[in-house]
């Protein structure tokens, strides 16, 4: 499974939403019904899954599915994966 699919799977699982709704434009709070606690837990799930650390100031910017996938792509490239 590539990392994009893994990210989508985490989002589906954490937020309990339909996979079809997890489009690149979908915003966690506005479109997927997350609250502030959900978003914290979601970032933690990304960190755990990919064994990385996401600083708070960067985490705040990850408000949509697409932004998260893009950010994680760069982060994993830096890590050499």
């Amino acid at each position: 499974m590539n990392y994009e699919e893994r990210v989508r799977e985490i989002i589906v699982d954490q937020l309990g939403v339909d996979a079809a709704k997890v489009t690149p434009e979908a915003a966690f709070i506005e479109d997927l019904g997350a609250d502030s606690l959900d978003t914290v837990e979601l970032i933690m799930a990304f960190e755990e899954e990919f064994n990385i650390e996401i600083p708070d100031e960067e985490a705040e910017k990850l408000t949509t599915v697409g932004k998260s996938i893009e950010y994680l792509k760069q982060k994993l490239a830096q890590k050499g994966q």
């Binding site: 937020l15 309990g16 606690l37 914290v40 837990e41 933690m44 755990e48």
Partner: protein
């Protein structure tokens, strides 16, 4: 705006019941077990208990949290919260409340837990040890805190009146129901959702009670382990679940044609001021709590015909409670029916008071008094009519429900039949 609090005390009745218990996850299943004298104890299935002194608990069976909320919602709740959330929904449905027809500012919630979210606490301590503190879930605190059921229920039904939890160990829901009664009696609310919930059958819960030597170790005969007032009792059996009542101002209930189970007519709250876990031999805290509840209800001691005892099956409690009943009631003690339904559902700790009040209210409804099962050998220190082993047909008019908690907290409810 709501009316100012009234200074004329008002009558408070119960119009809805909800239970999740080791002997039934609906009021009808619960009642059938009580009448049949069917216990819910067994070997612990939740985790491997072989290293513990006791392997026995009364676990809730066949509980599916998703019957009461979607998967994501229920995943944010510890088990104790799921139990309470479920029982509250049952009680509200049972009361037949049409929320759009009532003033939600005048409806409150008091649901407590003796401990709170033990499973999430255990789990997150392991997370700290294994992954470090940065991996603690942001839901840890809202899952663990013992007041959270009251919050969830207010959100689900938009109930905007008084909202809090009580915590007094095994007296928790005696206090929550009593406090809810006072909120309505003195005019702060017209309707209250009240009770308690507990889910202590986890490693730390069992280990802690085992170290106190408080739980039964009759490991080979779990179904006979909880034997309140019997000479061979050796400790309580941990239970789990929730009991929730809908309390309502009498005229409010009459106007909407609600079924009335009975009246919460009086409360008595006292402290032993003696020891953190043991009752005083003469049970003076219990004596005063029962006397206050009877007085608060405007009754005489001789009006009381049934006591749903705290009756934990520990050597100390049952002797002290019996002594307290004898001390307070004198000769009338011999006319009382006294039973401990814990013999069947186990000790639900913070949920005990509300579950047992529900048993009393159903007893009014059905004219049957549930028994104390596993009563085989009389103890000279316990010499009342404990309704041994078989339910008894009896029309009860005035009952007491006792709850006593570690810390020396005592809460007694006086419950009246409403004709």
């Amino acid at each position: 705006m709501a009316a100012l609090p009234s200074i004329t005390p008002r009558r408070v009745v119960v119009t809805g019941l909800g239970v999740i218990t080791p002997i039934g996850n609906t009021k009808e299943a619960f009642w059938s077990s009580l009448v049949a004298g069917r216990g819910g104890m067994g070997k612990i299935t939740r985790f491997d208990s072989s290293d513990y002194a006791s392997h026995i608990a009364a676990e809730v069976k066949d509980f599916n949290p998703e019957d009461y909320g979607d998967k994501r919602e229920m995943r944010r709740m510890d088990l104790f919260c799921q139990f309470g959330y479920a029982a509250a929904q049952q009680a509200i449905e049972d009361a037949g409340i049409q929320f759009d027809a009532i003033d939600s500012d005048r409806v409150g919630v008091i649901i407590g837990s003796g401990i709170g979210g033990m499973y999430i606490f255990e789990d997150q301590v392991r997370v700290i040890d294994q992954k470090g503190p940065r991996r603690i879930t942001p839901f840890f605190i809202p899952m663990m805190i013992s007041d959270i059921i009251a919050g969830h229920i207010s959100i689900r039904y938009n109930l905007r009146g008084p909202n809090y939890a009580t915590t007094s160990a095994c007296a928790t829901s005696g206090h929550s129901v009593g406090c809810a009664m006072r909120e309505i009696r003195y005019g702060f609310a017209d309707m209250m959702i009240a009770g308690g919930s507990e889910a202590p059958v986890c490693q730390t819960g069992l280990g802690g009670f085992c170290s106190m030597k408080a739980v039964s170790t009759r490991n080979d005969e779990p179904e006979r382990a909880c034997r309140p007032f019997d000479a061979e009792r050796d400790g309580f059996v941990m239970g789990e679940g929730a009991g929730i009542l809908v309390l309502e101002e009498y005229e409010h209930a009459r106007r909407r044609g609600a079924h009335i189970y009975g009246e919460i007519a009086g409360v008595g709250f006292t402290a032993d001021a003696f020891h953190i876990t043991a009752p005083p031999d003469d049970g003076h805290g219990a004596v005063r709590a029962m006397r206050l509840a009877v007085q608060d209800a405007g009754l005489s001691l001789t009006d009381i015909d049934y006591i749903n005892a705290h009756g934990t099956s520990t050597p100390l409690n049952d002797a002290a409670e019996t002594k307290a009943i004898r001390t307070l009631f004198g000769e009338h003690a011999d006319k009382l029916l006294v039973s401990s339904t814990k013999s069947m559902h186990g000790h639900l700790l913070g949920a005990a008071g509300a579950v047992e009040a529900a048993a009393v209210l159903l007893s009014f409804d059905r004219d049957i008094v549930p028994p104390t099962i596993n009563y085989e050998r009389p103890d000279p220190e316990c010499d009342l009519d404990y309704v041994p082993n078989e339910a008894r047909n009896a029309k009860i008019y005035h009952a007491l429900s006792n709850t006593f908690g570690f810390g020396g907290h005592n809460a007694c409810l006086a419950i009246k039949r409403v004709e």
